[in-house]
Symmetry: C2
Subunit: 300 residues, 2 copies
């Protein structure tokens, strides 16, 4: 528990929430964090509709089904991020119901980072007051990277968000799936209950949890330190840009979002990395496509 | 995956279901197994009512809330097992809705073993046909013990059950929470979906899973073997009976169910094991109570 609290305090500080105002725990991975954050949202707003972009991790749609929530799938931009114009249309069409919004920071396949600030502005523009919406941030991979990049989106509980989750086995490299979930303490009393035989309150999804995971997380954060993490982030971004340029130089269409280390390109045909020069503009945008038609229309 | 399949095959054989007829996975613990089994039941019978005894693990009630299922709490006998007369009354009062029944094999606090055969007989007596009910067996601790005790309840997929789950960190002693869930393959297609980017179908609760857990389970099963497990089970039962007799000999009321290794007695006042001689008959039955009134009425 000491390791766990120490890890949670670290993330609470990162996401700007006071020690006496947050509640969190070390989860079994990204999905449990999403299961928890979305459940907190649903318990706050029982008839809320879940909005999430079509590029969201498949677990979000699984969770909507598990929780019997109405789920509105919002279109994505070519970058993978949620299309706020579409979100606005969807919100206005369902103004009578509260909104529970899942934000991907970023998306699994393209690393598209949902623009939290623009989403908040959109909700506001649609006339939803603070007690009519709940935002869950699925920060699985990028949650630990963005804070080390200037100008990148800032995730903070000073903004009207309800919960944030990251994975420990992704950027931090823990040897078994784990994650961190942080939410506002005020939400937790609503669905926890005293459990006499463990002399504790249970407000988690899986109940018993692995004692190793907090140690792995604590170790990763401690051994790397802020400077180590910053260096790793910049190194990843540098290598992703290098790969992008090498692929493009070899005539292979490829895409890389800003602040992302995910390079997207066509699936090779075999282990020898044989690539077809198919048009992939529909998936990654014409400026990232290297097919004969799109190559002619620009230089890179 | 090889370790996982090997572990699952072992349990499939124990619970008498053919390799091509079962589906299962290694979970993060008892709660995930229950989350999965009850979800399979709900997807089979969407408007089914969840029946579970008041002595059930707290996670069952948490799950009912998560899944937005109506939950009927059935009274327990003094042993902790479900009161089938009460179950019958509840089933008959809700005959218009299918029944999803959670069975505790055994209960967390008293080790009361729900009588699967009597429950099936009760469902049958109430006129529920095979497509109107689903039984999930929460075998957390005893699932691995009962098969090694003659005359004990037999858990088998030859009986009309839908899913069985056990914990790996309890009797088998794995060093981190894990478990096994087995269900019928035919149920799984209903709620799994193809996930392109992992080149697999996801039909689990938590998605990514720990690679160590199947190894721990495989190791525990292999190193102990059937004979080793049998010896451990008999040793546990022997020690539980010894403790019961020692407590009773010291004038302390205590209870031990048949086929159980859980000795129930009053919570000591301090670390020196100071016990009050309060009447605990309400909790463990008068024949297990050592208070002055109940002690007088019998000899042990």
């Amino acid at each position: 528990m000491k390791f766990e609290v120490s890890v949670l305090d670290w993330f609470a500080k990162l996401w700007e929430i006071e020690k006496n105002e947050y509640w969190g725990y070390v989860t079994t991975g990204g999905t449990e964090g999403n299961l928890h954050g979305i459940l907190v949202g649903r318990e706050q707003l029982p008839d809320g509709i879940l909005y999430t972009s079509e590029d969201s991790h498949y677990s979000i749609f699984k969770i909507a089904r598990m929780y019997r929530m109405r789920c509105v799938k919002v279109a994505s931009l070519i970058s993978g991020e949620i299309d706020c114009a579409q979100l606005e249309t969807s919100l206005l069409a369902n103004k009578d119901k509260p909104a529970i919004i899942n934000l991907n920071i970023g998306t699994t396949l393209k690393g598209g980072i949902n623009d939290l600030d623009l989403v908040i502005k959109t909700i506001d523009k649609c006339g939803f007051t603070n007690d009519q919406f709940y935002i869950h941030c699925d920060d699985a991979l990028f949650g630990i990277m963005l804070p080390f990049m200037k100008q990148a989106l800032r995730i903070s509980f000073k903004k009207p968000i309800g919960s944030v989750t990251i994975s420990g086995h992704k950027f931090l490299g823990c040897p078994s799936p784990c994650g961190v979930l942080i939410t506002r303490l005020k939400y937790i009393n609503a669905f926890s209950r005293d459990v006499d035989y463990i002399a504790s309150r249970d407000a988690t999804i899986t109940g018993s949890r692995c004692g190793h995971a907090p140690v792995f997380l604590w170790y990763a954060l401690t051994i790397k330190g802020l400077t180590g993490l910053e260096n790793e982030v910049h190194n990843c971004i540098f290598k992703a840009r290098y790969l992008l340029n090498q692929l493009r130089g070899a005539g292979i269409g490829a895409m890389l979002n800003e602040y992302s280390n995910i390079v997207v390109f066509e699936r090779p045909l075999d282990d020898n990395f044989t690539l077809q020069s198919l048009c992939i503009a529909k998936d990654v945008g014409s400026r990232n496509c290297a097919c004969s038609i799109h190559k002619l229309s620009r230089n890179y």
